[in-house]
């Protein structure tokens, strides 16, 4: 708990609710008769509404991207390193909007909310939403805020895929796209990791085919395992080695199957805390959305053809030790944009933190990020 809030934090924030009564047709063919999006905003929307920036969250993220909900918060929002006064996404200039995605479990309509047609919790019956569906729902949020064009749409990982989808499907509604530590589609290895995570969840005896709420239980083991696996893939061998090495909890080997190494203890802690804050059905849904993302599919796997509609200027960034979405995956995006003759810049950041590096205040990363955003601010006369 911070005694006082840091000066470069957006401070105490509270979520907003948008309830949309117009039906939303999803890529899967099903329709949500109505839906709710929970979102947070930081900074002030200017008079001509030209300074709005959309932040898209990653797999297990939510709308709480920066600041604190109250003074007892142990941690700030998930992208505190990048959002705030004087930071890369400078709230002195920009009006920052971060929604919890449809299908999420932090208040937006999803598996944990009530299906208005049945009066029951959606649970596993919640339709699978795609990255494209998210973009469409976020566009409705933009309409409500009066934002006809985002100064920038920004995201890392699955958030980067949303930024890319925005640039492709609603080109006139954003000036810039920042696509960080992302890929134009998952590789077989990526999908394999997701399938192991889903299998862990579904094979938990407390899962009950997703109807665990009705059974008043939670698939803790399965969701915890899924998180452990995910966590390993988000870090690099080097980062894990530096943080934990082969350090033993009690200083001596016990010749048993209990928790002996610090990394084991860390993973167990991470997984058990995740189980308390995240919903298993949402995890299944989000990993499926990741698997399905493939904007080139409709263009005979020609990614540069899919990029043709893009008018936004784009910054792509990757991290050297990211093996979940390696720099080569970001380069697929960059090269397709170059082939399509789009305005794109690309930086590969030296970092040993693996995929999670995109959340860290790495000086070179923040310097390039900040400079780019300052140019965005200049462009819209902020």
């Amino acid at each position: 708990m911070p005694d006082s809030l840091p000066a470069d934090s957006v401070g105490i924030v509270a979520p907003h609710t948008l309830h949309v009564k117009t039906p939303l047709t999803l890529d899967c063919g099903r329709t949500l008769p109505e839906f709710t999006l929970i979102y947070e905003t930081y900074g002030q929307l200017n008079a001509d509404k030209s300074n709005a920036v959309l932040i898209c969250h990653a797999l297990s993220g939510d709308h709480h991207a920066a600041g604190y909900h109250d003074l007892d918060d142990r941690k700030p929002g998930w992208w505190e390193s990048a959002i705030g006064p004087g930071k890369a996404i400078d709230t002195n200039h920009f009006f920052v909007v971060c929604p919890n995605n449809l299908g999420g479990c932090k208040g937006s309509t999803g598996p944990t909310t009530i299906n208005p047609e049945t009066g029951q919790v959606y649970g596993p019956d919640f339709p699978i939403v795609t990255v494209n569906d998210w973009v469409n729902s976020q566009a409705i949020l933009a309409d409500t805020l009066g934002v006809s064009q985002w100064a920038a749409v920004i995201g890392g990982s699955l958030g980067g895929m949303q930024a890319l989808q925005w640039a492709i499907s609603l080109p006139n509604r954003l000036r810039h796209a920042l696509i960080i530590a992302a890929a134009p589609k998952l590789s077989a290895q990526n999908i394999a990791f997701n399938e192991v995570a889903r299998t862990a969840i579904k094979s938990d005896p407390d899962f009950h085919d997703g109807h665990y709420a009705a059974h008043n239980t939670l698939p803790r083991q399965g969701l915890g395992l899924a998180r452990m696996l995910g966590h390993i893939t988000y870090l690099s061998d080097e980062a894990m080695g530096q943080k934990f090495g082969r350090e033993l909890r009690s200083g001596a080997i016990q010749y048993g199957y209990g928790v002996e190494f610090q990394i084991e203890s860390y993973l167990r802690y991470q997984s058990s805390s995740f189980v308390e804050r995240f919903d298993a059905n949402t995890y299944l849904l989000m990993t499926k959305s990741l698997d399905y993302f493939d904007p080139a599919k409709a263009f005979n796997d020609d990614l540069s053809a899919a990029m043709q509609p893009i008018t936004a200027k784009t910054l792509v960034m990757s991290f050297t030790s990211d093996w979940r979405f390696s720099p080569l995956r970001s380069l697929e995006i960059v090269n397709a944009m170059l082939t399509a003759g789009k305005q794109v810049s690309y930086a590969e950041i030296e970092a040993n933190q693996g995929h999670d590096a995109f959340l860290m205040p790495i000086p070179r990363y923040m310097e390039i990020f900040s400079t780019y955003m300052q140019q965005v601010a200049r462009e819209v006369n902020l």
Partner: protein, 200 residues
């Protein structure tokens, strides 16, 4: 801001509205200057510490290692591909030249002339690797691994059927002199070539 003279020479060779690729674009000075004349394109640079300058200059910059070639670019996708003062630091200059002529209608190549009389004097009489204003590093720490003379470069162009459309040879102050005009390979310190594929 006035451009360094060799960059001014390059700039003068490129018509307004062209599409260019600047290899080893550094802090983006040349592209920034060209953009003011409606010339568009990308800078490629391996060192991202220069990116903030590039971004402030409003240019599109891609981090890339030129030793890997230009495979991200389609054939003939640029009017001009520029390689200024970098050829000598490339692992396979002949391969990169081939790549430049593949993706560009024209190539503009600038390099330090190893045939300059001071280099010849230091190596021929002094018996040591030359150190000069255009080649300031000692042999063990220099990034320059493939130095060539004006004669060597022209021979490579001829062998690959690259047509030399323009040549500018200057001294370290980027000025040309009567002596350079008479004997460029002996008196020139820096050479800039405008080349084109004979085939294209």
């Amino acid at each position: 801001m006035t451009l360094r003279l060799d960059l001014q020479i390059i700039s003068d060779w490129i018509p307004d509205g062209s599409r260019v690729l600047d290899l080893g674009c550094g802090n983006g000075t040349l592209l920034n200057h060209l953009q003011q004349r409606g010339i568009t394109g990308y800078g490629l640079e391996i060192d991202n510490s220069k990116f903030p300058d590039c971004l402030r200059a409003g240019i599109q910059v891609i981090q890339a290692d030129l030793d890997d070639g230009l495979r991200q670019f389609a054939d003939h996708s640029f009017d001009y591909v520029i390689l200024s003062q970098t050829l000598q630091a490339i692992k396979r200059p002949d391969f990169l030249l081939h790549e430049i002529m593949r993706v560009g209608q024209h190539g503009i190549i600038g390099f330090p002339n190893f045939g300059h009389w001071r280099c010849r004097l230091q190596l021929g009489l002094g018996g040591h690797m030359p150190v000069s204003k255009s080649l300031p590093n000692a042999w063990f720490e220099t990034p320059n691994i493939h130095l060539c003379t004006i004669k060597d470069f022209e021979k490579l162009c001829a062998a690959n059927r690259y047509n030399v459309l323009g040549r500018s040879v200057v001294n370290h102050a980027y000025k040309d002199t009567p002596a350079i005009r008479l004997l460029p390979n002996l008196f020139g310190e820096t050479a800039v070539y405008l080349i084109q594929n004979i085939a294209s």
